[in-house]
């Protein structure tokens, strides 16, 4: 039953979207389609309005650094057919541009703001404040693979006095100020 339903969906999608490359080797209720980025708005509209995939379950971005591409994945769910479809597309990593899609599902606006901020994807036609989570961010998009979180943390934050040589902060402060550490606190000291 599920297999027949999945085959029907694949046929309908392929009949309407010639560039849709399909992957259907999952033994559960999942289908995958990879399309060109220009096809994304039309296929999502079609899935929602014509095929009953009315629920946008998720949208996310994967950085394929070695291949020079960013992959966008939209996961939609049909409450009637109980099937989820993954719609994928790839963007040029050096110039990632996608169309605004929040007219299809309004909540995509939030996902697009995150794509823009965390992955550097330019969303044409997106109406939203410039900043979402980051504030006054000047660096490269932080969720890209080549962003080094450890180097950023070392550069941005510093150790509190007493931590640089792995000493107990209470001991350092007590020594500095000439204070005695009470007995009850001593047992926790290293």
């Amino acid at each position: 039953m599920m297999k027949e339903l999945k085959e029907k969906i694949v046929q309908r999608i392929k009949a309407n979207f010639a560039d849709a490359a399909e992957k259907n080797d999952f033994n559960y209720n999942r289908l995958d389609f990879t399309v060109k980025k220009e096809t994304i708005p039309s296929i999502l509209f079609y899935l929602k309005d014509e095929m009953g995939f009315i629920h946008l379950s998720d949208a996310n971005c994967v950085d394929w650094l070695e291949e020079g591409e960013l992959e966008l994945v939209f996961i939609v769910w049909s409450p009637k057919d109980k099937i989820k479809i993954f719609v994928r597309t790839r963007l040029d990593r050096d110039n990632p541009v996608m169309d605004n899609l929040d007219m299809i599902w309004p909540q995509l606006n939030t996902y697009e703001r995150e794509f823009r901020e965390m992955f550097g994807v330019q969303v044409t036609g997106l109406e939203a404040p410039d900043e979402f989570i980051l504030e006054d961010w000047q660096g490269p998009p932080p969720f890209r693979r080549d962003f080094d979180t450890a180097a950023y943390a070392e550069k941005t934050f510093w150790e509190r006095p007493g931590r640089e040589d792995a000493q107990d902060v209470r001991e350092t402060i007590a020594n500095r100020d000439g204070e005695e550490i009470p007995d009850f606190a001593k047992k926790y000291s290293r």
Binding site: H55, D58, V73, W105, P106, Q107, T110, F132, I133, P142
Partner: protein
């Protein structure tokens, strides 16, 4: 005539702008459900514009997971949403199992359902406190948060941790049920079943609660799915939708329970749905204890520092008290995730949905509406 109308319209808009006051609700505010801010424009005490501002809490968990092996992520996962961390652990564990094709022993699946339903009850006990507290009814919260400790006691005995458990992991669960644990669970359920009546007397039969919640924060039924509404909030719009039934996982398809719904789409309907779901959780827990098979509880994974997953991706969804939560993982065949992405219900409920339904509401109801949507800011800023 047309020009005159435009001038009149402009003057009216200017006057309205003059009248509108901007209020910053949060990020440090007793009525806000966590570290976020709702910037509202009010005319009198009616909200005319709302904008959710986040950025106070981002910890880049998804990025940090890329530097950890598949198992080390669990210390981060439980912090995605503090009141109810177990569905996040479960969705991640199941996504890993889906990708690897790892079998999970039947007993472990039952134990997982037990954990998830206890977590649901614990989370709803906190919700009682938040929802009633937002309307000035503080006694209910004191009772339910106190009673929640009986559930946390169970968690402590089973997992070693009261709030963060890291108990559900790939291949099953971390340890088997201790001796006598099932009896303790059943006794706790008996206690809660009696106690629900007390909560009802204090909350649902309270005129203040009824008047402050009926017809407030209404979500139109015909727009609910399109706007990304999920979980008890969607069921409070009269739409029967529950991942435990629609896309069953673990052993939910072997259990007998109903999915309560209520027409109305307001805070009251959402509260009624949650109240009924507690009873369903008790029902599920009793069935789990009765039908749990004996046997293995863990299909051992290889050495985590050498454990690689096949190339590909997986997506696992779980029904939490806030609605649909899910984990998307991508593997490039190494010992680290290529990418993990967490889908939380609050990501939609706390931003686009909240901004829409606050318009036209009274400023005093912001907190009650937020609580009714299950907005959990750590889930927005993973």
């Amino acid at each position: 005539m047309e020009k005159k109308f435009l001038i009149l319209q402009k003057n009216t808009q200017d006057k309205m702008r003059e009248k509108a006051t901007t209020l910053y609700i949060g990020p440090q505010h007793p009525g806000i459900t966590g570290n976020m801010m709702v910037k509202v424009q009010v005319e009198g005490d009616t909200i005319v514009r709302a904008r959710t501002e986040v950025g106070y809490l981002h910890r880049a968990f998804e990025k940090l997971q890329e530097r950890r092996n598949w198992l080390q992520s669990f210390t981060l996962l439980c912090r995605f949403c503090v009141p109810e961390p177990d569905p996040v652990e479960e969705s991640y564990a199941r996504a890993v199992e889906l990708l690897e094709g790892r079998e999970v022993p039947e007993r472990a699946k039952y134990i997982r359902v037990l954990m998830l339903e206890l977590a649901r009850m614990g989370s709803y006990m906190l919700w009682y406190g938040g929802q009633s507290g937002s309307l000035g009814l503080y006694t209910i919260g004191q009772w339910t948060v106190g009673d929640r400790n009986y559930i946390l006691d169970l968690f402590e005995e089973l997992t070693g941790g009261r709030v963060y458990h890291m108990y559900i992991w790939p291949g099953g669960v971390r340890r088997d049920l201790p001796e006598g644990f099932a009896d303790k669970v059943l006794r706790t359920m008996d206690y809660f079943e009696k106690r629900l009546k007390d909560y009802d007397d204090l909350m649902f039969e309270n005129t203040i609660f009824q008047k402050r919640t009926q017809g407030v924060g209404v979500i139109p039924k015909e727009k609910a799915v399109e706007w990304g509404v999920v979980g008890p909030v969607l069921r409070g719009c009269g739409i029967k939708s529950d991942i435990r039934i629609d896309d069953p996982y673990e052993v939910y398809d072997k259990l007998d329970f109903i999915v309560p719904t209520h027409e109305g789409g307001d805070i009251w309907s959402r509260a009624l749905v949650r109240r009924q779901e507690i009873r369903q959780s008790i029902r599920i827990i009793r069935q789990v204890i009765e039908n749990m098979p004996s046997g293995e509880y863990y299909n051992r994974i290889p050495n985590p520092f050498k454990w690689t997953l096949p190339k590909g991706d997986a997506y696992a969804r779980t029904e939490a008290t806030r609605g649909e939560v899910a984990m998307y993982i991508v593997s490039d065949g190494s010992i680290h995730p290529r990418r993990t992405h967490f889908r939380g219900a609050a990501y939609v409920h706390g931003i686009t949905l909240l901004e829409k339904i606050l318009i036209g509401e009274n400023v005093a109801d912001i907190s009650a509406i937020m609580n009714s949507l299950g907005v959990c800011p750590p889930e927005i800023e993973r």
